[in-house]
Structure formats: structure tokens, C-alpha cells
Symmetry: C2
Subunit: 195 residues, 2 copies
Amino acid sequence: MARRGSYAKGVAKREEILDAALEVIAREGYRKTSVREIAAAVDLSQAGLLHHFASKDELFTEVLRHRDEVDTANASADPEARLIDTFPVVVRHNSAVPGLVQLYVSLSAEAPDPMHPAHKFFTERFDRFRGELAEEIQDGQREGEFNPDLDPELAANSLLALTDGLQTQWLLNPALDMASHLEATIDSWRSNPKS
Amino acid sequence: MARRGSYAKGVAKREEILDAALEVIAREGYRKTSVREIAAAVDLSQAGLLHHFASKDELFTEVLRHRDEVDTANASADPEARLIDTFPVVVRHNSAVPGLVQLYVSLSAEAPDPMHPAHKFFTERFDRFRGELAEEIQDGQREGEFNPDLDPELAANSLLALTDGLQTQWLLNPALDMASHLEATIDSWRSNPKS
DNA sequence: GTCTATATTCAGATAGAC
DNA sequence: GTCTATCTGAATATAGAC
């Protein structure tokens, strides 16, 4: 499978680092986490860790990308599942991982800088999700599930924005129920059968 | 008016610093802005500036608080105006001040840390706005303006979250029209007269 | 691939004079 | 209220050995 032992080892170490980084951030908070600390958690020196990643910012961005890939892989297990339905589920799941949410929110705040590795990541992420959601909404409109007055793209953006904003509020106040807010909004988009 | 010349001067300098800080952040981005840089913009040394503020984090938090106070004062000029109506207007206005939005998003990402001065600021801000918005929505429901099925508090939270999330997206892509997204959501809450 | 050691850079905070 | 000077403390990144 691995072309050489060292290649497989490099990949394994990389994943180990990504997992450890998430754990340290969860414990220490994003702002106070240094590369050194993450290195210590995987028994590497700081320099040893940076052999695997170009910079601290890239490392942190890769943690997010890795998590997205895991989530996407899980979702693909059921090809029937629509993004718009899994959204509240994923968010509910995130509630167990405040460190991940903190990382997401912090990096998205830094992403406007075009030089930051998170810039590309978030731009592409928004584009992909917006497109997919808008398509699902449009399909739903054709089948009478969603209100035909909705602007699909605008609704898709709004759902993404709502999700991000809820995460910020939830970090401040973990009693907030993110999933129920999302569900209420999505429900309000459904065609109302009672009129 | 001023009890002593020095008092008035101190207040004036404080405001000058807050304005300058915003301007520097707009130019340099939040992450790369140091207290030294802001000090230079108002012809002070770094130590001279920190005579007016306890720390960098407090300074930045005060910039936001100051801007909120200005906005609130403007809104009070018309006591008829509801928060829910002025929201899209303020957001439209913010589109002219990316630095402010960047600061807001960055600090809200750091606010989960209870030791950070922004923690108290954002907690109180959310509480205040949520309460006020929920009340306006309830009033609107009584008068038949808003859909009676809405949960006022949940809708209030959602509007705040949507606003925050749109700002994140807009920083990444300034072509996004935040105000129209907000208006579409608020409109969807109105009682539909055509049924 | 990993380490040690260090270069670099820089920041926020504080002491004490004026 | 403001300055100069300095402390203190980091943290990232890199060079070069093993």
C-alpha cells in the first residue's frame, strides 16, 4: 500500500498531529495555542512538527480541512442525504466539540487576509456549500417542498451565515440550541400546507 | 463644562485614539495592528497611549463600544424607530467601514475567553439586542404585522446570528449584499396577506 | 524525519523621569 | 499626561547535524 515505509509513516504522523492540534485547541483555546504545545502533545519538537506543515496558519487550516473531509466522507455513506438535512445534524454534533467550533470561528475571522491559508479554504467552502444548498432548495421547490418565492441562492447564503453566527453566540453561551434555530429557519421555508 | 482643562483634554484624546485605532485597523487589518502603530497615528508613544487604556484588548473593545454608542445615539434621535427596522440600515452603513466589521468579527471570535474584555461586552450586547428585538417582534405579532407562529426570542437570536454570519461572508467577498439578505429574512416573517 | 540551537522579530507591559 | 528606556516574554521560522 505505501510505496515506502516512510511515506505511510509521514501520513500517519500528519493525521496524528491534526488530531492532537484539535485536542490542544479545545483545551487551551485557539489564541493561546502555540505550535510548540501541539508538538509536545505528539512527542515532537517544534521544528519536527513544522517539517509536516509549512506554517502555523497552514497547520490550523488543515485541521479544519481534515474535519470537513471526515464529515463529507460520513455523509457520502448515505448518498440520499441532502446537505440541507444534514446541516442541523452536523451542527448538533459540533456542540460536543467546542474547540473545533472555536477554531472555525477564529480562522474565519482571519480569512479575509488573502495571504492567509484559510482564505482559499473558506472561499472554496462557501462556494461549494452555497452551490449545493441552492440546488437542493431549487429541487425542493420543483417538488413543492419549499416555498417557490424563495431565492435559492440567497436562502443558501443565509443558512450558511446563520450557522456561522449561531456558532459565535453558542461559544459565548453554550446554552443556546443551535440546531433548533436552524431547523426553525428551514421549516419556515417549507410550503405551508395549511393555507 | 470640564472640571479642569486636563479632564476635557483626556476625554478628547481618548476619542481621538478610538477613531485612529479604527482607521489603522481598517488599513492594516486587525491581526497585524499593534498598539505602537495606533500610538504613532495620534502622535503618542506606546506607553503614552496605554495611559488611557489598560491593555490592547481593552482598547480594541472600547473601539467597538464607542461605535455602538454613536449608533445608539443616532437611533435615539428618532424614538419611533424600531431596532428591527434600523438593522438593515446600520448594516448597509457598515459596508462602508470594512475595518470596523473586521474588528467586530475578530473580537467576537475572541470573546469566548471569559478573561477577555470583549467577553462582557458581547454578552451584554447580545442580551440587550435579543431582548429588544424579541419585544418588537411580539408587538408586531399583536398588531398582525408578523406571523404569529414565530418564536420571538428564537427569531431575535436568528437575526443577530444571521447578521454576524453575513459579516464574515462579506469580508471574504465584498460583493455580497448583506442588507438584502437581512430584509428578505425579516420580510419572510411578515404575515402574508395574499392567502 | 527529527533534533538542537538559534536567528529574528516583535509585542505588551512597566518603572521612573519630566 | 506623556516620554524614554527597558523588561520580559514569546513565538515562528530556519540552519545544519544526525
